[in-house]
Symmetry: C2
Subunit: 186 residues, 2 copies
Amino acid sequence: MSLTREKIIELGESFILTKGYNAFSYQDISRELGMKNAAIHYYFPSKANLGTSIVRTNIQRFEEMVENMETRGFSEWQQLESFVKVYIKSNREGKLCLLGSLGPDFATLHENTQKELKKMTDIILNWLTGLLSAGRNNTVFSFHGDAHHYAVRFLSDLVASLQLSRVVSSMDYKAYCNTLLEGLKP
Amino acid sequence: MSLTREKIIELGESFILTKGYNAFSYQDISRELGMKNAAIHYYFPSKANLGTSIVRTNIQRFEEMVENMETRGFSEWQQLESFVKVYIKSNREGKLCLLGSLGPDFATLHENTQKELKKMTDIILNWLTGLLSAGRNNTVFSFHGDAHHYAVRFLSDLVASLQLSRVVSSMDYKAYCNTLLEGLKP
DNA sequence: GTCTATATTCCGATAGAC
DNA sequence: GTCTATCGGAATATAGAC
């Protein structure tokens, strides 16, 4: 696994989260790396390849996070808190999450990237649904209705509020996330 | 006010809501109108002008909707329901809302477009906050905590779930919106 | 006042140099 | 295996025709 390749993925992701998929170019990446834009094509023949790889990397990262939390015996509450912290960090860095950035551009993505993005979202939502459901059974969480519905809503809250925090004049993202968590307390 | 100009705004908005701001071009619009792409520049010298005008049109449309509802003496519940219906309609047409589409591209927008988008969001959030607050006082709604926080959350739910409905395999958007409204019942 | 011919820049991508 | 010179085309935008 080449170091340059990893840097390209890292930079590409960063640009997607700040400028958006259709606004960043290979030149944005190559400039940072001190190369010609065409050099990126050696590692990723097309922009679609790069996009797909970036989503795959994110899936891997998420699954490793979940594994780590399970190994450490995190409670449902601790797991949800850790998940929310990822979003708070993104907000601090002025970034969106990958779902919130690529989701709106879905129609313009390559078929493979679309497929991978769907896969990522399903994985996150399934995990979140299971976590909420288990947490409610253990009386760690309290909420009404279907767990999957609530999972969609909770994820929507995190995704969109990241976007809104750019647009809304004065928004305390961390405080907002805390009220989200508060709402789940029994 | 020229008819062509209005058609350009309408088409431009439609493309923003389906492809995204940075993915649509003047050619997309001119092709539909049977003109050369450069003709659009007569009406909107730059893409930023067009973007700003589209946001302004949306502000106007929203304010007219609110006025109409007040004239007809809509209850808080009816007003909120009407607002949600706009999103259900967008979902049926495979479109996002303007905030959910332009928000992620915020960093790439012209200063004036950014300003107008912020204005639009403030207007919507202020209205929603007032509506929720008044509705709670009249015991039409029931929710915990700060009304503005809840308004941000409610808007986030609508905005992001529109985006998610494209990505998540099986999602019943209308049913989802209904559970959102159910959550506000006393 | 309305639109077209044309310029300019930048994009993603290929062929080939080292 | 790694990167550069270069292409074809599409993007936004200007100057000028009707």
